[in-house]
Amino acid sequence: MTAADVDTGRAQPAERLTSAWQAPPGLPGWLMAVNHKQIGRRFVFTALGFLLVGGLQSMFMRWQLGGPEQDVLSPDAYNALFTMHGTTMMFLFAVPILEGLGMYLVPLMVGARDLPFPRLNAFGYWLYVFGGFILYWSFVTGSVPDGGWFAYTPLAGPEYSPGSNLDFWLLGVTLVEISGILGALELVIVILRHRAPGMALHRMPLFAWSQLVMSAMILFAFPAVVVASLLLEVERKTGAPFYDPDGGGNPLLWQHLFWIFGHPEVYIMLLPATGVISAIVPVFSRRPIIGYAAIVISQVAIAVLSFGLWVHHMFTTGLPPLVLAFFAVSSALIAIPSGVQVFAWLATLRFGRPRWETPLLFIAGFIVIFTLGGITGVMVAAFPFDAQVHDSYFVVAHFHYVLIGGVVFPLFAGLHHWWPKLVGRQPSESLGKVAFWTMFVGFNVAFFPQHILGLRGMPRRFYTYPDEYGWGALNLLSTLGAFAFAAGVLVFVTNLVRTARSGPEAVDDPWGGDTLEWATSSPPPPYNFAVPPVVTSAQPLWNPAPAGADPTAEAVLARLADPPAGVREQPITTAVDGRFRGVALLPGPSYWPLVTALAMAVAMVGVLVDNVPLVVVGASGTLAAIVGWVRPEAGTVGMRRHELGDVLDGRRSTGVWGAAAGAAVLAVLLAYFCYAHLYLAVSVETWPPEGTPPLPALRPAVLVGIICLAAAASVRAGRPRHRGADRLPGAGLLGLGAGVGVLALAGGASMLADLGLSGTERAHDASLLVLHAFVGVIALAGVGINAFAAYQAARLGDHPWVSAAAAISATWWTVIALSWAAVAGVVYGWPQLLGSGG
């Protein structure tokens, strides 16, 4: 079976398609680019750059540790380097490159033309760049973060880290995490709503499954570190004592929030890497994967279990042994679904006809290294053993076996495998094999001795050690291995770079792949598929759909090959069974994502340097850029409604799915804020602390909630109910919604003012203020959305943009009402339930 068997319509005239999907030429086009392939490639290339920088930092550290009592690095420089090495690898390399690979490949694999919100995708990339820039600007100002990639309090608090080092870390990481969340939103929606007709969940490529699971995990995990970072930054800037026991806070709150993010983070990196393996193993074994369903179920099980393991990073913090037992059991059991996947790949190799080319060699390396890392993982899941090796080099060895073996090796397999699709040229096999063997040997020489060093008591994060401890020989071996490993990485990257410039041109399907990305050219055209495909199998290239498999869909899809000028159309399918549902119209290139991200970064820098005018300029710029971004543009919505029969817009548009997913992220953020409040309430001895003013009765809070619901109802009533009919969309009702929203805001603010809270003295008060501020900010955004929608409704009348905006606004106000209900429950209801009244 070859790519030629799947009709992608490349023979048809495609000029209009190309001009509709292609960014303008030159620098302006580069800055405006929104196409998933351009943005995905940028993520991959930028992350590879960060890999080299982070790797260079580790080389300096290994050089320092290569012998006892060396002075290559000062203690402070060592602290800064291990902090930035971990931060770079976790936040700037691993997750962005895996998401970037997903952004590039997933739309191709599921038969889509682009991600559902191309501009949001570009915005996410710029946020990532600016976040990384802020983190590395710290080297220029001499304030490099030095509190570890985990930034534990109280070390990272204002008392022990008074400089701006940790501010660089907190603000930079927050921007990068927001970028990660936006990427995850894109991936979830493209997978659930834009799959090829016929691609029900049980026919989805395993790589797409892994990206779906990873993205869902990001939506639940990343908000935890965003909340933790925001609270710490507020503490550092204002003195609000969230993590300070003297003010009624608790430093362990940071560890809980951080590891609720941090442990799933390991699997957020690991699962897409296993998706790469599940994509490569069948291709190089020349047979369908064995245990498709088992792999999918294992991925879901691992994702869920990973959210119940965070306490195993806190085994030595003094928690009761029974709590440790609960988490030890769950930690050990994650080995079951992990093992199931490994056995499925081994079985596929065993019963296939493997071709031992570079990608498969990296997979084999993964299986060896990751299995060893998994075994030591089960060892440290047992808390008596963990207590012995905690903060020792045993743990360093364990997590490098898991992360380099589990992420870098599969990732490199994937890069070699898909490089022809990314750049249109074939990488060198011989250089790939040299890179693999150098990396494999170098890695084991570097990290295996660290197990022994850890068992002999060598602690982590110490910049040197005395000669008499006898750690010198193993450390020297480890350093030599690390340099060999780095040489292997350099050979690998050189191969990619050299190929991209002057390698032989790649054919469409150089490996005989089974998934849809191989059905189009290498690299693909800007629109991916002239005629989006229909599928009837999990291996659409090995078992292509017969003509007429879905006549309804095929009739419409054929017409997408010849769109009106400048119109970008993309099929929509149902989430579970992949039935063709209609067509979405996507926006094109724009400067607004870059401008918005830049304005946000300016606001962040303002916070960093305590410059209020700069914060105001950045925040105003962000607001103005958002308005410019979302304003309706001619030609992007509703143009082909009558031609195609059913273009999905208004309340059924992809935008509403995006709003719903965004609302879910807000709900998760709020849940973590509430968790922080309740954690402090149950962990601090006197809560609320003495001197706290009594809270009012629940009644005013209920009143504010009712006003929020009234705003939601008003917006719902103002929504056009008959799309395409001539009824006016009720600009007045949308405006009324904005007015009622202002009333709700005023009511909430008045309640808050009456409380007389002192956020800088008591963690209790600070937490209440943060919870109210959260709802206040989203309510303010709701008022803005309503007012803007009302203005556009008055201007445009019955327009799909207004319909979609009103639907989004109605969703938003429902979220505000629910958020307020949650806050009121936590703040006002909880104390009354416990009878403390305060």
Binding site: V300, P320, L322, A325, L333, P337, T574, V576, D577
Partner: protein, 125 residues
Amino acid sequence: MAGTEARTRTAFAGSRPHSPPEAVRALLLASVGPALWFGHLNASYLLVPPSCEWRHGWAFVVVTAVALAGISGAGRRSWALWDPRSHDGPTVVRFLGMAGVVLAGLFALTTLLVGASALVVHPCH
């Protein structure tokens, strides 16, 4: 072209706007096991201090029994959707039914072992 247009519109007019309810039901059932395990884990965590105060671990037995009952109920319903004895080809509902059964089994085991920890380790230790 006019014929295609008419067929397209007719087909859309009669098509379902969402995935079929049995598929959505299968998906929800598959999520019951993981959700109950997560709830059980956190409830058990929260119950440690009060259980020490009560000097008894009966609360762990109760929450474990409730969670296991819920998980096994969802697993049984998923089994009916999977119907492994059927000779029909793979469908998304059967696929999700199988996922529900396997996830229920795995998370029942995890829940059982988490609950059993309370029989071995005293909450006051």
